[in-house]
Symmetry: C2
Subunit: 271 residues, 2 copies
């Protein structure tokens, strides 16, 4: 089973295009987890199990683990997701980008060590910086295209001689050159729905990972209308903080589940 077929099955089986991002910030954890040595793993595991019925996958953000030296907790979390929720794709959000020999190492980190189905990568260094990932035929890469943050415009909006902005050059390059084996997706921020639509026009039914709803303020209806594919699927709409920290009281698991359920429904209502 490939990343793409696993994702397709998850969309259909779950009826959800919500992806929950796992960005564990110990300062925002509920009181019952304070001081626990494995708090990061415990928190994420409970969030995963509580929200699993409402999602099409999970996306751990590696920086939140590596800043705290919590790689072993990330390994345990990834094993848990694969053991307990084998139908849900695991996307490692790492935004890697380096020369080929180094990219081989990063691919091993993502796919072998953490067992990720897909990893986010940065396109700035071009084709040979992503080639080593594509050697893993059953795995995916999700390439940064139009990011949700304000500074995303600094480079991504620079227009070439024909007036085509860089992010659309990236979209075309990925669709036409890097996606020979159907392994690629693109990151396009919910904060720019008009640009999601332009990307969708160029990439047919390629999966889009869409951050920027929730804490970053992107609109769900605008996002869904702009990003759905020919089957009214095609999106991993990410929410992290709005789900993880829906409550830090004793009802934190239920509050996260409810936030995930409500977000799934808001997406479904438009799709």
């Amino acid at each position: 089973m490939t990343f793409k077929s696993k994702l397709d099955a998850a969309w259909l089986d779950s009826g959800s295009m919500l992806m929950v991002g796992l960005d564990p910030d110990p300062e925002r954890f509920p009181a019952e987890l304070h001081g626990r040595k494995d708090a990061i793993f415990e928190f994420c595991r409970e969030i995963v199990d509580s929200t699993a019925p409402y999602v099409c996958g999970f996306k751990p953000q590696i920086a939140y683990f590596s800043a705290s030296g919590a790689e072993e907790q990330l390994e345990a979390l990834c094993r848990h997701i694969k053991d307990k929720h084998p139908g849900l794709p695991l996307v490692l959000d790492a935004k890697r980008g380096d020369i080929g020999s180094t990219a081989e190492q990063y691919a091993r980190e993502a796919y072998e060590r953490y067992g990720a189905d897909a990893v986010t990568v940065n396109p700035y260094m071009g084709h040979d910086s992503v080639a080593p990932y594509l050697e893993w035929k059953d795995r995916g890469i999700i390439v940064l295209c139009r990011t949700s943050n304000p500074g995303g415009s600094d480079l991504q909006f620079i227009e070439d001689r024909d007036g085509t902005p860089l992010y659309l050059r990236v979209a075309s390059m990925v669709a036409e050159q890097w996606n020979q084996n159907g392994q690629c997706g693109l990151v396009v921020g919910a904060t720019f729905p008009q640009e999601i639509a332009k990307v969708r026009e160029r990439v047919a039914d390629m999966p889009l990972l869409i951050p920027g709803i929730g804490a970053q303020g992107g609109s769900i209806p605008d996002t869904v209308q702009a990003g759905r594919d020919s089957r009214a699927l095609g999106m991993m709409i990410n929410s992290s903080r709005a789900v993880l920290y829906a409550s830090n009281g004793s009802d934190w698991r239920e509050a996260a589940a409810e936030a995930a359920r409500a977000t799934r429904d808001a997406i479904k209502a438009v799709a």
Copy 2:
């Protein structure tokens, strides 16, 4: 002491613009290290101590550690470099790039956990993706500009409406906007000396990290002539594999030292 002042002092004290990149590949280690649990640390420590007299700093590539779950060995190596060679800048090669809240975590990883003086970053996500690093006033960032690999041209050579290629837009953006506090450097590959010269024209005496000599084939004389600053300094010319794996016999320490010395001298002969 800031990254910039530490680097300036290292150039003057060492008389070297060679930076040794630490990309430990256990398959290429000398036989005496095979099967040792801490082989990665041992190998890198010996390389560091053998080559220290001939370099202006060290650049561990984090992918080679994280692929093997060797974060603790990287921590030990960074502590060793800072304890035994306190005058030599430690550049963590990680090429990070993410939204601000995530970049805060990556900055903690690089500067706090590993104690790096500077970290390499990717410019694709723009100003707010680098701002959290710049809050660490005594540390540096080295921004990807014109990379040494073949795919570097895919995006970096795209010209804007005025005919300016993307890598020069990045160089100007970093010099004019991100470098307010003198914390920035740029990565420019030795495989493109004419482009090093164009970058140097735009960024005055900003430090350049230059990979691509040695295994990647860049010319030392062309690189030095194109990249030196107004003081005939200004470059961290990186060599990794050609130094680390100069021999895998019992003379591996001496061979690495000799490769570093010879490379330093080849740089000096032109500068």
